[in-house]
């Protein structure tokens, strides 16, 4: 698959704080690529570097196989951190500036304002907009001239629940039209609902990256107890479908594939001469997994 963006060995520190540590991954064309991590994990720093408003200490990001940055950015619609517009100008005038810099999309302004529900307020000054409207204008600006790639930093920031649902729907629609979307979010739920691929950051480290269904796989946990825990652990380590075993509350917590049923575990133990004194199935939420990864 064609690669839209290659990030190679990016590092960046602010004084003593290392915001990114040797981060590398690739964004495939046509994906909705989520960059997931708690606040302060380096998401915005990463986007800032690939958009060249921040300088990396080492490494680089290459767009479209190495196109000069400014040329690439003209073809990308981006929203970084906060909506940045001239307060004294109307939405139309602000979009005129964006379109002039991009050198495209000038006749597209009314369409994107309609798409984001701002058309009625197109001639109002930016400073009169509510937080949600500012965010919508930033999204409208990013969509000017139908870019092939969108970079969205926390795109649902400041929106009400209906607005959030609407923007997620819009992102899915745009992706179906073939637009690659790179979005940073601290909301696991958002990434899970919208993204096809994900990179998880924690304090500047890239923890995991890959297709969402692999990285954020729903995992079940089964808690077991028996008289001889050491033997139980040894036996279960050899069982197919068990990924991880952790000792908890005088028993063992098994992280296993969703297809693995408690009765299969029981049967397996019986076959190996172990009688279980306790057996419970615990559905593990993605939140728990996210907290485990980033906590």
């Amino acid at each position: 698959m064609e690669t839209i963006l290659s990030i190679r060995n990016l590092s960046k520190s602010y004084g003593a704080i290392q915001a990114l540590k040797d981060v590398s991954f690739e964004v495939p064309a046509g994906s909705v690529f989520g960059i997931l991590g708690p606040n302060g994990s380096g998401k915005t720093t990463l986007l800032g570097i690939i958009l060249e408003v921040l300088n990396a200490d080492a490494g680089n990001g290459a767009w479209f196989g190495g196109m000069p940055g400014e040329q690439a950015r003209k073809q990308i619609g981006s929203l970084l951190e906060t909506p940045n517009f001239y307060h004294y100008l109307s939405a139309m005038d602000n979009l005129e500036i964006a379109a002039s810099i991009k050198q495209r999309g000038m006749d597209d302004r009314e369409r994107v304002l309609q798409l984001l529900g701002l058309y009625e307020r197109r001639n109002s000054k930016f400073q009169t907009y509510s937080l949600g409207m500012k965010q919508r204008l930033a999204l409208a600006s990013a969509l000017l001239g139908n870019p092939k790639v969108l970079v969205l930093d926390e795109p649902t920031n400041g929106l009400d629940p209906a607005g959030i649902a609407e923007i997620r729907e819009l992102i899915r629609d745009l992706n179906q039209q073939g637009i690659t979307i790179i979005m940073a979010s601290h909301l696991l739920d958002e990434v899970e609902k919208v993204c096809t691929h994900v990179a998880i950051l924690k304090k500047g480290d890239l923890l995991l990256t890959g297709p969402v269904e692999d990285v954020l796989r729903h995992e079940d946990q089964i808690e077991v107890k028996s008289r001889d825990l050491t033997r139980l652990q040894t036996i279960l380590q050899q069982m197919n479908g068990v990924h991880k075993i952790q000792p908890v509350n005088g028993g063992l917590l098994l992280s296993c594939e969703t297809t693995l049923l408690p009765e299969q575990v029981n049967e397996y133990c019986m076959q190996h001469g172990i009688v279980l004194s306790h057996l419970t199935l615990k559905k593990k939420s993605l939140e728990t997994k996210f907290m485990e990864l980033t906590g």
């Binding site: 800032g48 940055g69 950015r73 940045n84 517009f85 964006a98 002039s100």
Partner: protein
């Protein structure tokens, strides 16, 4: 280059402060000079007036030039506001995100500075021709029009200096404060101290002072003529020095923008 200026124009044309400050400059410069030429604005008591009232072509450029060197403050403040706005709204980032290079952003601001200095010069020329023709004979045109060139050098120096301060301090309030502190007090003080200490004119070559020296208080010309005193420094040195400082501002601003995070 046309694209950079076109974008800057979009930022300015609907910005009320731009029109107010430019308007103040355009209105007050001729009005103030009209007041002086008529003796309405004067310095000194009774019949004494220390300000040159000569506005025929022989003296109009010196007179207008000096007063312009004070009124450029309006457009210096404008330069500061136009630049610090970008930091306040974080639109400097947005311009880059939308596809400019950092240097595109920087050069766009330099083009504005250049344009404002050219506007200043052309405007002073128009006002000067008006006064010159009104108070004297058209036959005396152009008079010592070299001063018009000095107006351009001085305004470019002031606006470029304002741009540099804005890039370093980013907030409009503090930048305007530092601008006034520097050009009204600090530089005068330091240059006078240098001149006194070294007993030379070295202090005259400070960043803004070197351009101010090109357009001195016009009454001094009259006094100089009367007493036969001569300037020991030829204007050409001040012109060269002004351009050297302007070049230094450019390089310092460039370094700052290329190296820092936005």
């Amino acid at each position: 280059m046309k694209n950079l200026l076109a974008v800057e124009w979009l930022k300015m044309k609907n910005f009320r402060t731009f029109w107010i400050l430019t308007g103040f400059f355009a209105l007050l410069l001729p009005l103030w000079n009209y007041g002086i030429s008529n003796g309405i604005v004067k310095m000194g008591g009774g019949e004494i007036n220390l300000i040159s009232q000569a506005y025929g072509f022989g003296y109009v450029w010196q007179n207008l030039g000096f007063w312009t060197s004070i009124f450029v403050v309006f457009l210096s403040i404008l330069t500061i506001i136009l630049t610090t706005n970008e930091y306040q709204f974080r639109t400097n980032r947005q311009n880059v995100i939308d596809g400019w290079t950092r240097m595109n952003f920087y050069h766009a601001k330099w083009l504005v500075v250049l344009l404002l200095s050219m506007f200043t010069t052309v405007y002073v020329f128009i006002v000067g021709v008006g006064f010159g023709a009104g108070y004297g004979s058209v036959n005396d045109f152009p008079g010592s029009i070299a001063h018009l060139f000095y107006v351009w050098v001085l305004s470019l120096n002031y606006y470029a200096f304002s741009l540099l301060l804005s890039i370093f301090f980013k907030r409009s309030g503090i930048t305007i404060g530092i601008f006034f502190l520097y050009c009204m007090i600090l530089e005068a003080l330091v240059s006078k101290f240098i001149n006194w200490w070294l007993d030379t004119k070295a202090g005259n070559f400070m960043p803004l002072q070197c351009s101010d020296e090109l357009l001195p208080f016009p009454v001094l010309d009259v006094l100089k003529a009367m007493t036969g005193a001569q300037d020991t420094v030829q204007p050409v040195y001040y012109v060269v020095c002004s351009f050297a400082w302007i070049g230094i501002y450019y390089l310092l601003g460039r370094q700052k923008l290329l190296r820092s995070d936005w």
